[in-house]
Symmetry: C2
Subunit: 417 residues, 2 copies
């Protein structure tokens, strides 16, 4: 994973060290738990031992019941690696939204006996998640006491949460989220690792990749990370939008994971009680050259652009040497690999963006593997923590979403009263 900034951050030595120090303090302080996930041996072992003991052969569907931080990381990683050799052929299905047509569309062909249901919620009181579980109980005519409920349902939650109390009353297999790990930083806890291990991925390699990046950061060899965070934070007024332009469809859901991580971590009142925040946008190349690029090139210069380039697609698919009469204009690409085309498009687009004076950086990934995905995820988590430091916000809370929940609940209670 190669990281290059094509802009000058102008950060001082002092501020650079402040960035490193801030995260080192968070790590030592113990309030921010995600830093410790890459080397948590316990974490790996409980998952490995579950996968060994459970009869996964009969499982065709892995159904994740969770929303936001409980689903986006798993979805991102699975889509990044779904074409790689370790992935088995089980279906990964998410129950997230409470749109009834979506629920029925997703669950139509899911047979209970062939499925494992992973209910993920820090507290258990997420309305979408409990409603989905109730739907499943009715769909499959289950009762909590039944052995088959207990065999097919797994909980991932905080120790001591209401969901934990429920799971322990009914003897459900339960994995814990460390209390100091928030949803959007939880993909390297059981939240992501359990479903990913069931799908066949090498979670150890994933965590090793994350660990490598972590070590490299805390050994103070990641100046470009600190510079980038600083640059984004101090330019939040003139450059309020940060675009991730991923040149592979495999990053489609990584973009969504990034949007949550970035938006929810950084958009809030800072410690001076001012509204701050940076707006994330994720797009995919080359397709979005045909939808979003015009605005980037000629619209207001209010966006940073991060190009993600995958060097080796592990795929030799080649554009055949066929000349379509009257369309010979595009024959210059014949005999090249599709991956050569998409990478050349990435380079050409980057150049055309840079010519506008837009701040660009590039992340080049050698190939998609558990290890590189682990690095990538941890890179963005660290970048988010650093940017939060420079914006002077609490990166790890989300107080702004509570009001809507209160209004929602009141609206139903009013109806009953």
């Amino acid at each position: 994973m190669k990281r290059e900034l094509f802009f000058e951050s102008g950060i001082s030595k002092e501020l650079l060290n402040q960035g490193y120090d801030a995260l080192a303090r968070e790590l030592r302080g113990g309030d921010v738990g995600y830093y410790l996930l890459p080397e948590s041996i316990e974490n790996r072992e409980v998952i490995h031992s579950f996968c060994k003991s459970y009869d996964l052969e009969k499982i065709k569907n892995v159904v994740v019941i969770g929303i936001g931080g409980s689903s986006l990381g798993t979805k991102a990683i699975d889509y990044m690696l779904s074409h790689t050799k370790n992935r088995n052929d089980k279906n990964l299905i998410f129950m997230e939204n409470v749109d009834p047509n979506e629920i029925e569309r997703n669950m139509r062909d899911v047979l209970f006996e062939e499925s494992i249901f992973i209910m993920i919620s820090k507290s258990g009181s997420t309305i979408e998640t409990t409603s989905s579980v109730k739907y499943l109980m009715s769909k499959y005519q289950l009762s909590f006491e039944m052995e088959k409920f207990q065999q097919h349902f797994i909980c991932i939650t905080d120790k001591g949460s209401p969901l934990d109390a429920f799971a322990s009353d009914f003897n459900l297999k339960t994995f814990y989220l460390p209390l100091n790990v928030g949803g959007r930083f939880s993909v390297f806890s059981a939240v992501g690792l359990l479903p990913l291990a069931i799908l066949g991925y090498d979670i150890d390699a994933m965590l090793d990749g994350a660990y490598e990046l972590k070590k490299s950061f805390f050994d103070r060899r990641e100046n470009s990370l600190v510079e980038k965070a600083y640059h984004y934070a101090i330019n939040d007024d003139i450059m309020p939008i940060n675009v991730l332009f991923s040149y592979t469809s495999s990053f489609k859901y990584f973009n969504d994971w990034y949007v949550q991580l970035w938006g929810e971590s950084l958009g809030k009142y800072n410690r001076d009680k001012e509204r701050v925040g940076l707006t994330p946008i994720g797009i995919v190349g080359s397709v979005d050259q045909h939808s979003f690029l015009q605005l980037v090139i000629e619209g207001p210069i209010n966006k940073s652009m991060t190009m993600i380039k995958l060097k080796d697609f592990d795929n030799d698919l080649t554009i055949p040497n066929i000349s379509i009469p009257h369309l010979e204009k595009t024959d210059y690409i014949n005999n090249n690999k599709f991956s050569t085309l998409i990478n050349a498009q990435c380079d050409a687009t980057m150049q055309s963006i840079m010519e506008q004076g837009i701040d660009v950086d590039r992340i080049e990934i050698d190939r998609l593997s558990e290890k590189s995905v682990g690095e990538m995820i941890f890179y963005y988590e660290l970048l988010t923590s650093l940017t939060g430091h420079f914006l002077d916000v609490n990166t790890y809370d989300q107080p702004g979403v509570e009001l809507g929940k209160v209004i929602l609940k009141e609206s139903f209670e009013k109806e009953i009263a």
Copy 2:
């Protein structure tokens, strides 16, 4: 379809009339063709007669080879209506990106004899589209002269384009795009109508819906449309981002269609040679309450929010009256329909957003049908034209994407030289 603005645009009577007049002038002037698509009888008839004459029974896959404006509208409409009664069970597959892993993932199980391939390009020189066609010719070992190539390939292009010349040389069935209709405004030409008709949708009802909105606009009964466009345009500096918050998963790809329409139409140099533009973002409720809402509520006030609410989901799926021990806190929702929950979430979120002083408007759709989708699409097309008028840009071109194409071509020619 009910449209309500919860902000004051302060537009004068004169500017309001200017908005109407500008579009009326475009309509009469003949350079902007999309206005005429809803009532184009010829359009409907060639498609109906094709569907009658072609043996669609044997077709299992409808493969659209096209990118940007050639794919986004069809994808949007199909996903909005995929649960409705007219939709048959054919698969709709897109060949858009040149990511080789994506191509293989999408095309793995597509058998030639069961498929119809619709190649869409205004000129035919879109590199992604021609490369995809070459891939298909090699995958299925086709030659242009073969009857089976001619039977299974259809072209949609500009009359007189290189693609038209190719199609006529080899006797391919061809549909024309009116020359004055650009890609992102083309969904009601054969570009969208042909695949949608093959999938069973009632394209006449769709066009009737669009026509109704058109008529209502040109009869000057759509002040809220003009007000909204004006408000967005004059506040482009303090409110550079326009978020569409759709409270149904069915709008997932409508959001993508909106992003292209809005971004590519409005992001460019205005007639005073200044960079202008508005950045579109599409999100889906309630899921994105768990990812994007925090930033909206507590971050900088630099976004307008449009809530899309679907009144009737045509789906009575109900949250069962089950109490999960220890999780009784969420029982207040029991016995309500899932659609009641998602709509109450929409209302609660909207209220919590409005309490921050953010400019909000709401579009309420009675139910998803060909007709309402037609209205919705045309509403956004008109809104885009109006906003383009007030931003003083050429809404219908996209000069900014050319540079990247030139650099791309040069990079390959350099290699050969």
